[in-house]
């Protein structure tokens, strides 16, 4: 039987986060579990990867990206339009309002900030198992 790490070995996760420290620590955690990460700080940088032939298994995006209050929501919609089966994991430090919920893609995953490595690992596992 495969271990949890082997099961999702070397998945490629696109991490979109405008705070450099938070992004790099998140990437470090994800890489510790044997995955590969791609790094973007805003919607435009992320779209470069999404429009390229680069293989991507999942998108992990902050909702509030620089000045775009719902930038992560917009990005997720564009990402799914480009890659219809791409699973998305959202994160935010803001309260999730009904208005924000309406912007999320139905059935996608969500992780509140601040998250621990254990919570991120569970969320990424669920993302890849989807």
């Amino acid at each position: 039987m495969l271990s949890r790490q082997e099961e999702f070995l070397m998945a490629v996760i696109l991490v979109v986060e405008d705070d450099v420290f938070i992004r790099e620590v998140a990437e470090m955690m994800i890489q510790d579990w044997g995955h590969q990460t791609l790094s973007a700080s805003d919607v435009d940088e992320a779209l470069v990867f999404l429009r390229s032939p680069q293989h991507i298994d999942g998108l992990f995006t902050d909702i509030y990206l620089k000045t775009a209050v719902h930038g992560g929501c917009d990005l997720a919609h564009q990402a799914v339009a480009l890659r219809p089966k791409l699973p998305v994991l959202y994160t935010t430090g803001n309260n999730i309002t009904d208005k924000m919920k309406a912007l999320l893609i139905e059935g996608m995953h969500f992780l509140s900030k601040p998250y621990t490595q254990h919570q991120l690992q569970n969320a990424v596992d669920e993302l890849l198992a989807a």
Binding site: M29, P114, T116
Partner: protein, 474 residues
């Protein structure tokens, strides 16, 4: 009863004189020279006169010339000669015997066999009271309208078929339409159909039949000349005493500025929340990075630290959700804490339940975080240690006792032995509990430990909220 016993008599068989004496209208018959040849009982009663004073008299000379009225002369001398009948000719006059009266006169030329000149039948109906009531109603309506026009909020009055009877000056001015464009039309038809909303129509349809007013129905849209606006609509039934007809008052409150302030405040809150959570995420990340290079026995300590930081972040959210002005509602706060802990630590399949019994008491926001951490610490301890078989109940209880709040966290688990406290993690947990209690200015009330379960009873001073306090800034 069978039909054969009913005496049937067609109206045409009833003698004309019987009809004349029965009808409530005053009737007069004049010859071609306007001499009164006959009058009915209603005429004598209404005008307080008699047949001897009336019959054979020129109508203008009747009753000391009180019928010598210009309007009546016009009817009899100018209109009747050219028309076979006249209906609804209104005559208003001060009669010396009966005072000011408004009469509705119907006139018809009648011809008897052999009478080529013909006669004139006058039916006179006293409509003074009806006209007075109508005038009073008109005065009332004008008074109402003048009051309505002084109200700054735009409003309309609707008939029961939802058409507009009147629109206030403020309504016409703000929405840039004329009174003629509103009258008789539905609100949903005005402007560019901004009010044509099914939910609003549904509410409006219940106002009159069910006497069900509504308040604060919010509509946001672009309005010509105004730009984007938010209106709160309030509606209620209005009635006039003595009048069975009901109308609806629909008021439009422009809340655009208030809404914008709320949105700005929310935006600021979100911005602050975003920064705080990101900073906490940085701290959690720093700990995660340190833990990566730390010896295995110490890792649990780092994880516990991360969990407590996570608890502070959650409490921050809960405080913003349950704050009422300058205070935090403890009952709602406690329920949210229980819900969050159930979701994060227990999940749907857990055999451990958290129950909350709380009175509506309040604490100040400064003490809300240590209060939440205290509840979090005690509840986490119970979840971790009280139920080795994985099932049981934790009870969170808050009540006001005099000028104190009593918080009780209890469980029906295996109970706590003194030697447990000597173990380092539990010792640290109880140290934290003691610190939070001191921070809250409270005391731990000694409780007799039962053979099963654990109970921790804490008394905190009740917050005295100063009157007229400003709302808590978001």
């Amino acid at each position: 009863m069978s039909d054969t016993h009913i005496a049937k008599k067609p109206v045409s068989d009833i003698a004309a004189s019987d009809i004349v004496e029965t009808v409530p209208s005053a009737l007069l018959i004049l010859d071609r020279n306007l001499i009164i040849t006959s009058a009915n009982r209603a005429f004598y009663q209404t005008f307080r006169t008699s047949p001897s004073e009336t019959e054979g008299c020129l109508i203008y000379a009747l009753g000391n010339r009180q019928w010598d009225i210009t309007a009546l002369r016009t009817l009899l001398e100018s209109v009747i000669p050219h028309r076979a009948s006249v209906e609804g000719f209104e005559v208003e006059h001060d009669f010396p015997t009966i005072g000011r009266r408004t009469m509705l006169v119907n006139a018809r030329k009648i011809f008897s066999p052999g009478d080529h000149d013909g006669s004139i039948l006058l039916a006179i109906e006293d409509v003074s009271e009806e006209r007075a009531a109508r005038a009073e109603s008109k005065r009332n309506w004008q008074l109402t309208k003048s009051i309505v026009d002084t109200i700054r909020d735009p409003l309309v009055v609707l008939e029961d078929d939802m058409t507009i009877v009147t629109a206030s000056k403020a309504f016409l001015t703000i929405f840039g339409i004329t009174e003629a464009e509103t009258r008789g039309r539905r609100v949903s038809e005005l402007l560019q159909h901004q009010w044509d909303v099914p939910a609003l129509r549904h509410l409006m349809e219940k106002v009159l039949p069910e006497n069900k007013p509504f308040e604060s129905f919010e509509i946001e849209d672009n309005f010509p000349g105004l730009g984007r606006r938010v209106f709160n609509l309030n509606a209620r039934k209005i009635s006039q005493p003595g009048n069975h007809a009901h109308r609806m008052l629909l008021v439009f409150e422009d809340i655009t500025d208030r809404k914008q302030r709320e949105r700005d405040a929310l935006s600021l809150t979100n911005e602050i929340s975003h920064r705080i959570k990101n900073n906490l995420q940085v701290i959690v990340g720093l700990i995660a990075y340190e833990a990566k290079w730390t010896a295995a026995p110490c890792v649990q300590g780092y994880k516990t630290m991360q969990a407590r930081i996570g608890a502070i972040a959650q409490l921050y959210d809960l405080i913003s959700q349950t704050s009422r002005g300058r205070t935090v509602a403890v009952d709602a706060y406690l329920r949210e804490i229980a819900k969050t802990m159930s979701e994060s630590l227990l999940g749907n399949t857990s055999g451990i339940g958290i129950e909350v019994t709380a009175e509506p008491v309040e604490i100040d926001p400064d003490r809300a975080v240590p209060f939440g951490l205290l509840v979090n610490e005690l509840t986490t301890n119970a979840i971790k240690h009280a139920f080795p078989n994985g099932s049981g109940n934790i009870m969170l209880c808050v009540e006001q006792i005099g000028d104190q709040i009593e918080l009780v966290v209890s469980d029906d688990g295996i109970g706590m032995k003194d030697k447990d406290l000597a173990k380092s993690p539990e010792k640290r947990g109880s140290d934290y509990v003691a610190i939070f209690v001191r921070q809250l200015g409270g005391t731990i009330v000694p409780s007799k430990q039962e053979t099963t379960g654990t109970i921790v009873r804490i008394r905190l001073p009740l917050l005295l909220v100063p009157s007229g306090a400003e709302p808590l800034a978001a």
